[in-house]
Amino acid sequence: MFSPTSAMTVETQHPGDDAPANPPLVTIELHVNSAVWTLCVEPRMTLAEALRGPLQLTGTKIACNRGACSACTVWLDGVPICSCMMLATDVGTRSVTTIEGLASGEKLHPVQQAFIDHDALQCGFCAPGMIMSCAALLERSPQPSADDVRAAISGHYCRCGTYPHVIAATLDAAKMRRA
């Protein structure tokens, strides 16, 4: 786990820049997992790149980088979004929650624990995004049906084919949360 100080400044450069215009870096504040980060970034940096690069929150994965696989899912004000399709400079004052922000200290979120209990990941690359979608579902619908879980994870690709275990894990996590 990372413990950001209240303000950090990190400058980033992208390789292969060939555009003649060179707009200035902009300073932004990102509210991530209850911490506030001050970053100096290029306007073209995506939220996913900001999380994984300067913030070193590498739990969020980038796979397709086109919003087609949902591996990069984080919450924006509690709502799941693809962080690869959101510019870091467009987040504004909205709060970002990543997979690193889900556990309370050493205690895993019920969905994280249920994913372990139900063997709901194999290679694990889709798991952080999948868990963010399933945890968001339980926030808005504490007693979901299997179809609710299917709808919640409908944007996710898991090429290991863990879907049945993900559904079982999420339904179990819902029970754990109510217990």
Binding site: A21, P24, P43, G67, A68, I81, S154, G155
Partner: protein, 341 residues
């Protein structure tokens, strides 16, 4: 992605003034002008725009962000219908009680678009203005007709997802499923330009057919902002359905989608019919022959079958998309029957 600046507009006028290009005009701007200070495009949710930028299909120097322009993300009730702001996300549109009550078929279309994550960010305006999904158009390697080149690669190439109507000399299909439902219910759009001039037109007329222009799908001009989508009140006898068929159920662009709106008189006869096919042509395709079959008739299984056959009149499928004929025939048949249930 190229380097660009992100500017936040505070008013519609400010955004319109700053937007020197539409995405379509920016994509056909000569390369030597790309990236310089005079090429700025509007960003709504940014989903399609980021996709195009990441593929290197346009290189604006500035994005004009509509996020903080007040009033663009509201659904408001007006005397003659609902006014939907272009920045309303697909997710909030699909969850809106007034839409669910009055336009359930539109909600079907919106809720069936993209994935939950994308619907949480993608806007209605951006959905209507998104560029086509043709893989030649989306690939930097193919300088196709729609990007200012001299050749459509789909017509002799991999055209299984392409148009079966009006597909010469460019075979794209319009990418918006929501548009199919909106044109069927007679939605209008409102556009404001930098000079403060407001245009209102039927959404159906806002879309640009090939014979008018090969390089854009809609009539949006540079320095113009889509400011509202208006949904008319439907008469009490109106019945509507939208059905989409993709290759997979989870999320996908449609292989085919159909929207049907029928006005039924108290005796159950159809007094007016709108039948639109999505993913069939470069613009949402009005199936006039199917509308003619339905109008004046009491709708039953036999009439639905006749209308479905008529809907495919004039189709000119390409080498690999003939399967769409049967698909559309089935969907029109089902949509007509679904509408009257």
């Amino acid at each position: 992605m190229n380097r660009f600046a992100l500017a936040g507009a505070k008013t519609i006028a400010e955004a319109a003034t700053a937007a020197s290009a539409t995405v379509a005009t920016a994509m056909t701007t000569p390369p030597e002008r790309m990236g310089y200070a005079d090429l700025s495009v509007v960003k709504a949710g940014g989903i399609d725009l980021l996709d195009l930028l990441k593929e290197g299909l346009l290189a604006p120097s500035k994005l004009v962000n509509l996020r903080d322009v007040p009033g663009l993300d509201a659904v408001a009730e007006e005397a003659d219908g609902l006014r939907v702001g272009p920045m309303v996300t697909l997710a909030s549109l699909a969850a809106h009680p007034l839409l669910q009550e009055r336009y359930p078929a539109l909600v079907d279309a919106v809720a069936g678009s993209a994935s939950p994550q994308i619907r949480n960010v993608a806007t209605l305006g951006g959905n209507l203005l998104q560029r086509p999904r043709c893989w030649y158009f989306r690939s930097h390697a193919f300088h196709c007709l729609r990007k200012g080149g001299g050749h459509c690669f789909a017509i002799q190439g991999e055209n299984q997802y392409h148009a079966i109507f009006n597909n010469m000399p460019c075979a794209i299909v319009h990418p918006s499923t929501t548009a199919t439902a909106l044109v069927a219910l007679g939605a209008t759009v409102e556009l404001k330009n930098a000079a403060g001039v407001t245009r209102r037109l039927m959404l159906e007329d806002f879309f640009v057919p090939l014979e008018r222009d090969l390089q854009r799908e809609n009539d949006l001009a540079p320095q113009e902002i889509l400011t509202a989508i208006r949904l008319p009140n439907l008469p009490p006898g109106a019945r509507m359905a939208h059905i989409k068929q993709g290759e997979k159920d989870s999320f996908d662009w449609p292989l085919a989608d159909v929207a049907v709106l029928l006005d039924l008189d108290p005796g159950g006869n159809c007094t007016r019919a709108s039948v639109f096919l999505g993913a069939a042509a470069p613009v949402p395709h009005r199936a006039r022959a199917a509308e003619a079959v339905l109008t004046g008739r009491r709708i039953d299984e036999g009439v639905a079958v006749q209308a479905a056959r008529a809907a495919l009149q004039g189709a000119t499928p390409l080498s690999k998309n003939g399967y769409k004929l049967l698909l559309f025939e089935t969907l029109v048949h089902r949509a007509v029957l679904k509408a009257i249930v």
